[in-house]
Amino acid sequence: MNILSIALKEIKRDFRDRRTLLFMLAFPIVLMLILGLTLSSAFNSGATVSGIKVLVQEVSNAGPLQQGFDAFQKEVKKNGITFVPLQAGMDAKAEVKNNHYTAFASVDKDGISLYSSNRNPIESNIVQGMLTAFTDKYNAVAAVAQHDPAKVQQITADASGASIVQETSIVANRSPGSIDYYALAMSVMIGFWAALPGAKLISGEIKEGTAVRLMAAPVSKAEIFIGKIVGSVVQSMLCVVVVVLFSKYVFKAYWGDHMGLTLGLLLTEVVLATGLGLTLSYIFKGGATMGLINLIIQLASFLGGAYFPIGDDAGKGIMSTLVSLSPIRWVNHAATSLIYGNQSTLAIQVIGVNLAAAAVLIGVSALIMRRREGL
């Protein structure tokens, strides 16, 4: 019962602190709106590709390769790629450089060589991919023909363009728009802000002088400890839930079909952050704790992609290590995978990691508290 009283007191007191409340609720919502609207173009996954023209030079003695290549040209034309023969007097490379053509392909008896410019990387990659697919198939047919010519017909029977040009997508059925992204990013970020009230759990009582009265009351240290942690976690989690619901119903952000598991994931992040704040407040004294926690939160937010997306290939070496150390990053990744890929495995793993880390941190705090005479 004392645990409940202490937890309720904690929630009541924190929610009356208007500055904290404003910080925990208004700031992420405003930031979500500003970043979501400002950076909306950065989240457009579509790219229009049209009018790919490839300059081609065919040598008449190219033999079977030339025949195959002619068939290939006809096939890919259906996909909007035009092969234009090189005219006499034309400087093929200059034409590509000047962006008149996407690439220049030269076909002779030794094979196909391709020259492209990096001015149109997507188009160049498409051409290169198609030619690679074609040459791979041609080489396979040639190898079979050498050993068993009768089988060639069997292979080439389905050598339609479809096997050369295959449309695939690297984007899942649904990808986050800017508001979707920042709704998640801000919710994860304020989950980690739980470290701030966590740091004030015990030091706040000492500063306010109430630690003396708590210790003089017939309440065990364990009851005080648990009650305060429960209260702080509930208070921080309520803020996260408010931000999530606000983004869902006001900004129409997409939160997927696994809201329960997503909130569970965020809850474990809040527990972890609370434990981190509490432990640091025991190790460091006074203003140093809050300064350090603010620094950690800002770094974790930045590296975790709270302000702008940081891809998997972000940096190498120490940068890559730092990125992977951000709890905001773990939770963001797991939640994205859950919301947009319906993959719960990573979320469950991160929940486990968060809880394990929180158990260690809270255990350390409990040990320090137990060894102290006061709180």
Partner: protein, 312 residues
């Protein structure tokens, strides 16, 4: 009957001995004054009685039970009014008292009644819904007391409850202390204001360097001081006196000035009044009145510790 018995109590912080083999008793129903300068060991003793610190050695018995072994029982019967305010600024006066009283197992209607009773007692019933952040210093001190009494403890420790408040609030608190005592509560009271202790305490202990150096009623303590005289000199104007010129006079132990009043403590056996007055007149001071007073607690404290209670 003794409500509190302390025997051979010692508290060490590393090599520093804060409380040194202290023994004392507090009887049920009395207001026990606990006097000591800062660093004398007073707060450490109080913190051990309140279970905030563990004794290095010795025994504390509250209501005839060992305090360390019966911590919960002891806490249930103890109320503490800390020197520093121990209230939540963000919660109303009612919620503050309700929260702390709730930790003592009070629930429902009983809790509500006790909270209102405590607020009524300290004169804050009409401010029950207000937050302490809007209170004066005196009101906060009164709320600090209300938080300690709602569970009706048998022993209340009040550590400097009147520090930094206006005379009106101070008088209110002193009256409250007497009222609490009259209702059957035993009180341990510490203060820097000697006149408060003289006014309300039935017995007094003086602690210095972690030890009790004197214990008894005011009369008993002052009766032990026979070798010191307390000379009060009132000057016509408020002018600064070189006190060193007075303490150089044979027999004078110390001298203090408060506005236009001088307090000179001197050996009772040395006849030096004329030399003191001559010294003052030679320095240009005009004397309005001279009075040799009976020893009081201030004199006792000064004689026993060699310093004034407020010289910290």
């Amino acid at each position: 009957m003794n409500i509190l018995e302390i025997t051979g109590l010692t508290k060490k912080f590393g090599n520093f001995i804060a409380v040194d083999n202290m023994s004392l008793t507090v009887r049920e129903g009395e207001i026990f004054g606990f006097l000591g300068a800062n660093g004398a060991g007073k707060s450490t003793t109080i913190n051990m009685i309140s279970s905030l610190l563990r004794p290095t050695s010795g025994e504390i018995r509250l209501l005839d039970r060992d305090l360390v072994k019966n911590s919960r029982f002891a806490k249930m019967n103890l109320g503490i009014v800390p020197q520093d305010l121990a209230i939540y600024e963000m919660m109303t006066a009612y919620e503050n008292v309700e929260f702390f009283a709730g930790l003592y197992g009070l629930r429902g209607v009983e809790l509500k009644d006790r909270v209102l009773e405590a607020l009524e007692f300290v004169g804050l019933a009409d401010k029950a819904k207000s937050k302490p952040q809007n209170f004066s210093g005196g009101m906060k001190r009164r709320l600090n007391i209300a938080c300690a009494i709602a569970h009706k403890p048998k022993l209340i420790i009040m550590d400097e409850p009147t520090v930094g408040i206006d005379p009106q609030s101070r008088n209110y608190i002193l009256a409250s202390v007497r009222k609490l005592n009259a209702s059957g509560c035993t009180i341990i009271y510490t203060s820097h204001y000697m006149e408060e202790v003289e006014e309300i305490c039935s017995r007094i202990a003086i602690v210095d360097h972690g030890k009790i150096i004197a214990e008894g009623t005011k009369e008993q303590l002052t009766a032990t001081i026979t070798d010191v005289k307390d000379i009060h000199i009132e000057l016509k104007t408020q002018e600064s006196i070189l006190l060193e010129s007075l303490t150089n006079i044979p027999g004078v132990r110390s001298a203090q000035q408060e506005e236009n009043r001088l307090h000179v403590y001197s050996d009772a056996t040395v006849d030096n009044l004329n030399r003191i007055l001559k010294q003052l007149m030679d320095s240009g001071a005009e004397i309005r009145a001279v009075e040799e007073q009976e020893p009081n607690l201030e004199t006792v404290f000064l004689t026993l510790t060699g310093r004034n209670l407020r010289d910290n």
